[in-house]
């Protein structure tokens, strides 16, 4: 057996290539890199640095908190974690230097290139904490994507500068979902007949907001929220984005949802009772909320896809560690071909999903179809991978201490939020309806 192993080892390309001419040898992969490193090398140079930095941060700062965030989210204190993340520049990646921390070259390629790469690394350590760290991007994105200079100068730039240079984090959340309108507010056709309950009434100097929003990530801890509301007496066409700061009279946090996973990040109800919002807090133009919302989702869906891939990678990695350690009879699990086939299948699926996400980043303005395709494909794939990882581990797979089940619970949400995957599939058709699917 040992002789067979020795001969098989000698046949590996990195060894047998010694028999090739010198130039031929240079064309051979030396098998020196890990899967992760191989993949990192395909990224633009400045992005590789971000990926390495994010992975280190995830290992050092996120992973140790993962179990606590899941078991006892009520007492999970994010303050120190946020301060460290701000110091590393993770909260300011939606804008290039010197205001933000992204590199110009990447930024000109795609505004969310860096956040999408970071999202996978954070989520590979824990889905809930990753969401907590990524959601502020979603909250502030409407300010940036509105292209409204006064809003950007008033809210975006000061926030980024204070975060980047003083380590002072002001977090934003994004509020579109309502008790009677979930998927409606993410789909053109649904929106027309949506039962929208959050309304804004024009008053002197501003607007009065009434209604409620639900399932708002980081809703309970945010310093400000970008809230979408229709104007009183009008329909979805009048949707307008308002920035509502914590502490405004009549604005309060309602119930905290008890979720199956991603528990470190709160999903809260926000209640508005005659909340006065000054005119200066209208983000973009009045009645400009719908295209802004749709565009924010186009930019955020690849990030959600990337988080799902990260969580699935977390599940895969814990299953892999298990297979390396666990013995069945006298052999380690990983030595069984059945196990190798399963692990290989997971690697393939993760590669495929990641490739589609990277494809979406090739567009400066991410098209709806590719954003939705990458989100629905990656999250469905991640769910499959997490199931395979748990199945590989058998009974050990559902024990909390082995981590895999936490990733499995976390991933399930990614198939639902940012539009259910059914709705995202329809969004692909909707986008190209008058070109390809006429």
């Amino acid at each position: 057996m040992s002789e067979i192993n020795d001969r098989a080892e000698a046949l590996r390309l990195k060894n047998s290539s010694r028999n090739l001419p010198r130039i031929g040898r240079l064309l051979v992969d030396r098998e020196a890199d890990s899967l992760w490193e191989l993949d990192t090398k395909t990224l633009p140079r400045s992005c590789r640095k971000w990926r390495r930095k994010a992975r280190k941060f995830a290992e050092d700062e996120i992973r140790p908190l993962a179990l606590q965030g899941d078991i006892d989210p009520g007492h999970f204190d994010h303050t120190e974690l946020f301060r460290k993340a701000a110091k590393k520049g993770f909260f300011t990646t939606l804008f290039p230097r010197p205001i933000g921390s992204a590199s110009w070259r990447l930024y000109l390629r795609n505004a969310v290139y860096v956040p999408v790469i970071i999202a996978e690394e954070f989520a590979a350590a824990d889905g809930g904490i990753a969401l907590k760290l990524m959601a502020p991007n979603l909250g502030i994105a409407p300010v940036l994507l509105s292209g409204h200079l006064p809003s950007i100068l008033r809210y975006f730039i000061p926030n980024y500068l204070s975060c980047r240079f003083r380590g002072k984090v002001k977090t934003f959340s994004f509020a579109i979902t309502e008790p009677e309108a979930g998927s409606d507010v993410e789909d053109n056709e649904g929106a027309v007949t949506a039962r929208l309950g959050t309304k804004a009434r024009k008053v002197r100097g501003g607007y009065l907001l009434n209604g409620s929003k639900i399932f708002i990530s980081n809703g309970a801890i945010s310093d400000a929220t970008t809230v979408f509301a229709k104007l009183e007496g009008e329909g979805i066409e009048s949707w307008t984005c308002f920035l509502v700061e914590k502490g405004r009279v009549g604005f309060r946090v309602g119930r905290h949802e008890r979720k199956m996973g991603q528990r470190a990040s709160d999903a809260s109800e926000l209640i508005f009772e005659n909340v006065f919002v000054p005119d200066k807090n209208v983000i973009g133009k009045v009645r400009g909320g719908w295209p802004l919302n749709k565009n924010v989702l186009n930019f955020s869906r690849p990030a959600v896809a990337s988080m799902a891939v990260g969580q699935a990678r977390g599940a895969f990695e814990s299953a892999l560690q298990f297979a390396k350690k666990k013995y069945i009879g006298r052999k380690r699990m990983i030595e069984f071909q059945e196990v190798q086939l399963e692990l290989a299948g997971m690697v393939q699926e993760l590669w495929a999903a990641r490739s589609l996400i990277r494809q979406s980043l090739q567009h400066f303005a991410i098209p709806q179809s590719i954003a939705s395709a990458s989100k629905s494909f990656a999250t469905d794939t991640a769910w499959r991978v997490a199931n395979r990882a748990m199945e590989l581990m058998g009974d050990e797979g559902y024990l909390h201490s082995n981590h895999t089940e936490r990733f499995w619970r976390d991933i399930r949400l990614t198939q639902i939020y940012e539009g259910t995957n059914q709705l995202n599939r329809l969004a692909i058709i909707e986008h190209h309806r008058y070109k390809d699917f006429k």
Binding site: G182, S183, K259, M260, D395, I416, Y417
Partner: protein
């Protein structure tokens, strides 16, 4: 213990219908209230009361012929003569509301049934017993189960040896499901290259157990790893040895997988009923969500899968016990658990964001069915197991 069943005394259709309708009433009035307080895994005190009521109803099997659950308890004494249909229907019905309770009834039933041929007899203690399927190294391979060529007893870690006045057991049993304060275990072990089944009280000297820790689902039940360190047992602790022990193990394993499939189908049906109600009430795009093709497609697929699961369970239940039925039960566990867990996941999708929140209880069903899918034979294990059994008959 008296194991004979008089065919004239076998319960008729009316008795079965009566028990089934009693279980439905019990479920509505005792089980469902345990989930109305919003606790994700139910109110433990109310669940305990509900389970006590099930004992009184005679739905939980107890191997004492004078007890209420002896005849019509799940996997009760008449199962051999009646076939498993009745037990499977009861488990299916309970699992529509709570898989943990269904699994508890099931586990108690299969463990108790293994004592029917035991000479020592039952007492009140046996209201809480568990069957320990797995060694620390995993489930027993098909090759061991049927003493096939190439069978390696090395892989069977729990061993017994004869000592003066009895037996000594050594080994570890992992992932043993039971009730709080389980009183005894039925432990399969290797005795002189033969099968043996032992009755091991939880307070036996040398027996240690530790909680398996936090887990995804079936949280009402106790889950333990058991250490058997030189556990000394008296002569009468041997339930069965040799061929009889092997036959009991095969029968118990078969019933375990059949029951798990029935519970999985019940979980799927419960989630479909909840989703069916939700689609009537929830509006999206100006219409009830039941009018959306995406939702109809999810529901339609779910109906088909659950119907298919029912057909497969029925087919397996009709087979004669033994190797063929065991293979069928393994297939059932592999296919039905997978399909039904997809159904539950799809029903969560119907609920959208609400499905992910604990108060709607779809997420509990998804967690529970995932645990069932992995317990006592993961898909990977079952694939190999089925192949080994099939190869033997080729």
């Amino acid at each position: 213990m008296n194991t004979s069943t008089n065919k004239d005394k076998l319960p008729g259709k009316e008795d079965v219908q009566f028990i089934l309708s009693s279980v439905r009433d019990w479920s509505e009035h005792m089980l469902q209230p345990a989930f109305r307080n919003g606790l994700p895994d139910g109110d433990r005190a109310l669940l305990k009361k509900a389970i006590e009521a099930l004992y009184d109803l005679g739905v939980i099997f107890h191997p004492d012929p004078s007890s209420a659950g002896y005849e019509l308890g799940v996997w009760g004494a008449y199962t051999g003569a009646m076939g498993p249909h009745y037990s499977l229907r009861i488990l299916n019905e309970i699992a529509k509301t709570c898989a943990s309770v269904a699994f508890l009834v099931h586990q108690q039933g299969i463990a108790s049934a293994s004592l029917l041929s035991w000479e020592k007899g039952a007492d009140e203690e046996l209201r809480r017993i568990s069957f320990a399927f797995q060694d620390a190294g995993g489930m027993p391979a098909a090759r061991i189960l049927f003493d096939q060529e190439g069978a390696s007893w090395e892989a069977f870690e729990t061993r017994a040896q004869r000592i003066a006045g009895g037996y000594e057991l050594r080994g570890r049993k992992n992932f043993v499901y039971g009730q709080k304060e389980s009183r005894a275990l039925v432990v399969p072990a290797r005795l002189e290259e033969q099968w043996a089944l032992f009755f091991v009280p939880m307070n036996a000297e040398g027996l240690g157990s530790r909680d398996a820790g936090r887990r995804t689902g079936l949280r009402y039940l106790q889950l333990e790893h058991v250490e058997l360190g030189k556990v000394r047992l008296k002569q009468d602790a041997l339930i069965a040895g040799g061929e009889a022990a092997r036959a009991i193990f095969v029968r118990t394993l078969t019933r375990n997988w059949l029951g798990m499939a029935a519970i999985a189908k019940g979980i799927a049906e419960g989630s479909m009923e909840a989703a069916g109600q939700y689609v009537q009430e929830r509006y999206q795009g100006g219409t009830r969500i039941k009018n959306h093709a995406a939702i109809r497609s999810l529901l339609s697929n779910a109906y088909s899968k659950v119907e298919m699961a029912g057909d497969l369970i029925e087919r397996a239940a009709q087979m004669h016990s033994g190797k063929d039925q065991l293979r069928e039960a393994a297939r059932l566990k592999l296919i039905v658990l997978d399909e039904c867990s997809r159904v539950v996941s799809d029903m969560m999708q119907v609920f959208g964001g609400y499905g992910y929140m604990q108060e709607f209880r779809i997420e509990k069903r998804l967690r529970d069915i995932q645990v069932l899918k992995l317990n006592a034979g993961s898909p990977l294990y079952l694939n190999k197991f089925i192949y080994d059994l099939k190869e033997d008959s080729l």
